[in-house]
């Protein structure tokens, strides 16, 4: 396959960026999107140009490191992570636009790499439980109803990649935050901090400069892990409950 790439190049956070056009040849349809970028970077290095910076780690679709808005879609046309997106989703001769996540809370570090540490600070505000550490507790000591366990697991699937923020026209982190809040709030282990968790995590989310939710549903469509849109309603419910109940 031969492809025309238009890639966002930006030296650093403060520099002006622009789209740069590259041609890549010899792409196999079985390559992942990141392998295609590796091929481009090898060409660039051989030509003595600076390779395109992009985030990646496990390349198995489970770590949440890869990002990229491909042709206007976070993680590209398939519902998966960029590392699990294969070039067979494109056609020979296609022009592909590759841009970084866009949100003021995710400043561009270089080229396609953005700083997603705002997510870490949201987690630090309440994405934990205060269980004593030590040996593993007896598995049957705390019964968890099956629907609650399923719900917690569904939300725990969030890998924190930030596609929800990138897809949202308001740069809102509501889907991410709701996944993290609901994951722990539905479980008995998360009950002691049920109120402070949701209040503190929503406050941290607002402090990072993410936008508000207008229920466009773009986040849930982009999410490679299928975190559903009703998660946001569930977190709103928890938040409203907490404002009535919280003892601070």
């Amino acid at each position: 396959m031969k492809l025309n790439l238009r890639v966002w190049r930006q030296q650093n956070t403060d520099a002006e960026g622009a789209m740069a056009t590259y041609e890549v040849d010899g792409i196999s349809p079985d390559m992942s999107f990141l392998e295609m970028l590796d091929t481009l970077n090898e060409d660039l290095i051989l030509r003595g140009e600076e390779p395109v910076a992009f985030d990646h780690d496990c390349r198995e679709g489970i770590c949440g490191a890869c990002s990229l808005v491909i042709n206007g879609d976070a993680h590209g046309p398939e519902r998966t992570t960029t590392c699990q997106l294969h070039m067979r989703s494109f056609r020979d001769g296609d022009t592909i636009d590759v841009e970084p996540w866009r949100a003021s809370a995710f400043p561009v570090v270089k080229d396609l790499v953005v700083d997603r540490s705002a997510f870490d600070r949201i987690i630090q505000a309440g994405g934990y439980i205060s269980a004593p550490t030590g040996s593993a507790p007896e598995a049957h000591a705390t019964p968890v109803p099956k629907p609650d366990a399923d719900s917690a697991f569904e939300h725990a699937e969030c890998i924190g990649c930030g596609a929800c923020v990138a897809a949202c026209p308001n740069g809102s982190a509501m889907l991410f935050t709701s996944a993290k809040v609901n994951h722990l709030n539905v479980l008995p282990q998360g009950a002691p901090e049920r109120e402070t968790r949701v209040l503190d995590m929503v406050a941290a989310m607002d402090d990072e400069g993410f936008g508000g939710c207008t229920l466009t549903g773009e986040c849930a469509t982009a999410c490679p892990k299928g975190i559903p849109l009703p998660s946001i309603a569930a977190m709103n419910r928890e938040w409203l409950r907490a404002t009535r109940k919280a003892r601070r």
Binding site: R6, W8, M19, V69, N71, G72, D73, D97, E99, R102, A103, S104, A105, S130, C168, P169, N170, G171, S172, L199, V202, A203, M205, D206, G209, F210, G211, G212, C213, T214, L215, T216, G217, E218, P228, L229, P230, I232, A233, A234, M235, N236, R237, E238, W239, L240, T243, A246, R248
Partner: protein, 248 residues
């Protein structure tokens, strides 16, 4: 055996930090949060929606002739009597609605500013995002606010009314307004905006108030569409009836 200083420190280190700084009041937390502001928008929106349902039912009385329509208009001023003085109930409703409009508009303005700031850079690769109703919420809201001003000046105070405004004769006033081409255009455009605004707004309010879940979302969407359709059709039927001579 004496305990060394390190043992004392260890004991301290296992005690988790407590919040000592004074916490802001719950009202402050509520209004500062994007979720709290959305709650204000949802509640004020539902108040206005409830009013619109009552309004459209009153409007449809025009099809039963000037006697019934004018009597209904008169009853609006005597409702609550003899407990309440003439027009007091109407003024209580007006004050409540004004509070809802202000709460809705201030939250919308503050949230919109925040949302626009959270996504300062647009993607180079454009693609249509979200539904038409969702994308037109802000402009639709501004159009509706302007319409409400015109509507009150036209049919409540009579300031911009043409054809001799007569208080206590709403039937004739309505026929006058819809006998002008611009009266019809302004009204019908605004009613289409109402439909679009309610379509996304009702569903969105339900999510904000935490009513949404995977099973209920289909019913909520159907209710939003139904309300939008009934309101728009009900309101638009009046100018159409005047134009076609059904009401004269």
């Amino acid at each position: 055996m004496t305990l060394g200083p390190s043992v004392g420190l260890m004991a301290l280190a296992t005690r988790t930090e407590r919040r000592t700084e004074p916490q802001p009041s719950m009202t402050r937390i509520f209004w500062r949060s994007t979720v709290g502001k959305k709650t204000v928008m949802a509640l004020s929106g539902l108040i206005m929606l409830g009013y619109l349902v009552a309004h459209v039912m009153g409007n449809l009385k025009i099809f039963f002739g000037p006697g019934e329509f004018n009597a209904y208009g008169h009853w609006l001023r005597t409702m609550g009597a003899p407990v309440l003085h003439h027009s007091w109930a109407l003024w209580i409703v007006r004050v409540g609605l004004l509070a809802a409009v202000i709460g809705h508009a201030v939250s919308a303005y503050q949230l919109s500013r925040r949302d626009i700031k959270a996504r300062p850079t647009a993607y180079v690769h454009k693609r249509p995002r979200a539904s038409y109703a969702t994308r037109t919420m802000r402009w639709g809201g501004i159009i509706l606010a302007l319409f409400i001003v015109w509507h009150i000046l036209d049919l409540t105070t009579g300031t911009v009314h043409v054809g001799g405004f007569e208080e206590g004769r709403p039937y004739q006033n309505v026929v006058d307004t819809f006998s002008t081409w611009y009266g019809n255009v302004i009204y019908i455009v605004a009613m289409l905006a109402v439909g679009l605004h309610v379509r996304h707004g009702f569903w969105s309010a339900a999510q904000t108030l935490g009513a949404g879940n995977a099973r209920r979302d289909r019913a909520l969407k159907a209710m939003a569409n139904g309300l939008a359709l009934v309101l728009t059709a009900g309101f638009v039927s009046v100018p159409v009836a005047v134009m076609t001579g059904v009401v004269s």
